[in-house]
């Protein structure tokens, strides 16, 4: 053995476990407002991720047990499951997870070496390939015209079968961001849009509470020093300032900055996706640049792009810039500051 002889926890596995724990409040809120389908999605994604992770580790001749237990595959699965429509068909979930684990993670060298956030790669592949399935979100239970019981939901996910007389439209809806985009296209005034039932006080009905739960989980991670403040602060501040500026200039076409923060994937991205250490910069200044860039792109894609939410593409685009950001934000070393 060599010095230092001492080591301090947490290990990689413990860090991942805390991140998973921090997602629990959001999952609970999700179930409360949208029903338990998301749990099936998460379970299916988890099983797929772990199985493929094991296969890939075997193929790459890596020790399976320590890597499988590091929790990173599980985290990728959860983040992907929470990003796609909760009642998506099983093959959608499996395909997305497979892309995330096999291609985005292992073909790029596995834990620590992948340049792109695996969950976001999975998401991007799905939304490009299966735009229809990817935009059929469950409507919040409180405003849906009809409910599907849990068994029927399973039936839809696995056999694409709906009970007699049930209409897909009756329990799905477009997301608040999506709705905003379409309605603005139809020249509907902002105030009228915001009074539609999918919108809550700040963000989407139900969705805003899930966002709040992500925020709570993120604050826990900050308190536990699992993540640093730089990324979430820069991301949230950038979205707030940019969307706030547009909102002030042209309130008829731009939702309030609070809305931008409380809808879509803003909060999960700020605390759980952009904070992935592997695919982000390591220097403090680099983190600020990276997260501001992602915030800016998110807003731009939401406002001008063809996709309902810009988070996934914003993250992937910023992932590409990480080596450059790191190289240009090296801090001065001890004794060599200007």
């Amino acid at each position: 053995m060599n010095s230092p002889y001492l080591a301090k926890s947490p290990s990689v596995a413990q860090i991942m476990a805390k991140v998973l724990l921090a997602l629990i409040p959001a999952v609970a809120a999700y179930v409360w407002f949208f029903g338990p389908a998301v749990l099936v999605t998460m379970a299916l994604a988890s099983a797929t991720a772990l199985a493929l992770e094991a296969v890939m580790l075997k193929l790459r001749k890596k020790p399976v047990k320590p890597y499988l237990l590091d929790g990173s595959a599980l985290l990728t699965a959860w983040l992907l499951a929470l990003s796609i429509p909760p009642m998506g068909p099983w093959w959608l979930i499996v395909t997305g997870t497979a892309f995330a684990i096999v291609i985005a993670k292992h073909l790029y060298g596995g834990l620590g070496s992948n340049p792109f956030n695996p969950a976001m790669v999975g998401y991007a592949v799905l939304i490009i390939s299966f735009p229809v399935q990817m935009t059929q979100w469950l409507a919040p239970l409180s405003i849906a015209q009809s409910h599907l019981d849990f068994m029927s939901q399973l039936g839809y996910m696995f056999f694409h079968a709906l009970p007699q007389g049930a209409q897909l439209d009756a329990f799905t809806s477009a997301t608040p961001l999506d709705t905003l985009k379409t309605q603005l296209h139809l020249d509907k005034p902002m105030a009228a849009i915001m009074s539609m039932p999918v919108y809550g006080a700040i963000g989407g009905t139900g969705g805003q509470w899930v966002a709040a739960a992500y925020l709570a989980g993120g604050l826990y991670l900050l308190q536990q020093k699992i993540i640093s403040w730089h990324v979430p602060a820069a991301f949230i501040a950038t979205i707030f300032i940019v969307s706030g500026t547009f909102h002030l200039i042209d309130p008829a076409h731009h939702a309030s900055p609070w809305f931008e923060l409380a809808t879509g994937a803003t909060m999960i991205c700020a605390f759980f996706i952009l904070t992935d250490p592997v695919t982000g910069p390591t220097t403090p200044r680099g983190k600020l640049v990276f997260a501001s860039g992602a915030g800016f792109l998110t807003f731009a894609i939401r406002t001008y792009g063809g996709y309902p939410d810009g988070v996934a593409f914003a993250v992937l685009l910023m992932n590409i810039c990480v080596p450059l950001i790191d190289a240009y934000t090296q801090p001065a070393v001890f004794g060599k500051k200007k």
Binding site: S3, L6, S11, D70, G110, V333, F334, G335
Partner: protein, 484 residues
Amino acid sequence: MRALHRFNGGVHPPEHKGESTLRPIQQPPLPEKLVIPLHQHIGNSAKPLVEAGDTVLKGQMIGKAEGYVSGAIHAPTSGKILSVGHEAVPHPSGLKDLCIVLAPDGLESWTDLQPIDHLNMDPSTLRNRLRDAGVVGLGGAVFPSFIKLNPGAGKRIRTLVLNGAECEPYITCDDMLMRERAREIIEGAAIMRHMLHAEEVVIGIEDNKPQAISAMREAAGQSMEVVAVPTIYPGGGAKQLIRVLTGIEVPAGERSTDLGVQCFNVATAASVYRAIRHGEPVLSRIVTVTGNVKNPGNFEALIGTPMDHLVDQAGPLEGSDGAIMGGPMMGFDLPSTAVPVVKATNCIIVKSDALFPTKPQPMPCIRCARCAESCPAELQPQELYWFAKAGNFGKAQEYALFDCIECGCCTYVCPSHIPLVQFYRYAKSEIWAQEREKKAADLARIRHDLRQERIEREKREKAERLAQKSAQAKTAEHSQPEQK
């Protein structure tokens, strides 16, 4: 009150200092033999002055300082020289080195000591005395002190810093020395201040040592400032302590004297005092013996005392498995405890699996930057690791590999349990090896070129001589008219 500064990062490993501070410093019985290495300091080995069969007195010089950067070695007690030869020494490599083996006669008969009154002496005489007394940095670096007490013409030392921080876990030798011999330290500091013409003396002690702080405050009176500094590893690194106390950052590769500061360990100050005021060379040092032992404590050990002699005094417990010299953050595995105590031996930690469990298998770096956050040198350890691992030493140097002080903070916090420091040590030694090779190659090339040149010249000269000869022959043959 002095405004304190802070440095980046640092860690708080469990201290484990209480165990070894329960009893006063102990005097172990005289061992049967002392093995005294001739290379106990940075620089050249001392040159042996004795042979097998000689009898020596306590304090007699038995190894002479060789060249400028070196230190003298003395007989720690009176007795007979058994041999001068290669013996096992405490070094991570496990290699043997030249040692003088002394069988004590138990009489403790001293050689003549010549105390000096430092106030009437010029600094260069005092420096020579320290060199001949073998005074070196006892904090672990063992750099010859007389060199550091020579700031160079025209350099002004504003602050003399005395390092009593002792930030590494387990080690308490400086703590006990300060508690029990504060006056010697303060007197030593006064001598050093005189030699450096320093304006002020500041003594930094971590605030987890309240007894040492009050003992030192009492001894210092109004003459020097004793400052309680926050307990954080590596706050006792010379650069970190200078930063905390003065705000000055000494860049890697620069001498702190150029920035008006000089820093010495408290134990070094005490040995300066003994060397000057009592004429006594460095014959012993305080060693903490702790870890998996029944009675952890501090011992005033003669240089050359076999370490197992000390470990036996402390009583090794069941499950002991090897030992560390130094602290758990920067120390190293001893090849065995049969090696002698040297001037650098501040602590011996008897290991056990319970105290130092084997670390889990390293995982890949997840770029979490915890290492960078903990790095007191403000480096990017994850980048250095990457470059060192890939053998990209040029890039590693560009990312300031040689500013790394090998404190081990990065490795301590790494969630992937990557032995980062080991990679840096490896990269540094590879770079040094390459540089040596390059120098050797350059030398060889120069030699080769010179030789080629000589051969060429000789050939040319020979050819010229031949040409001349044949020309002369021709002139002789032919008639004059061709030449004007």
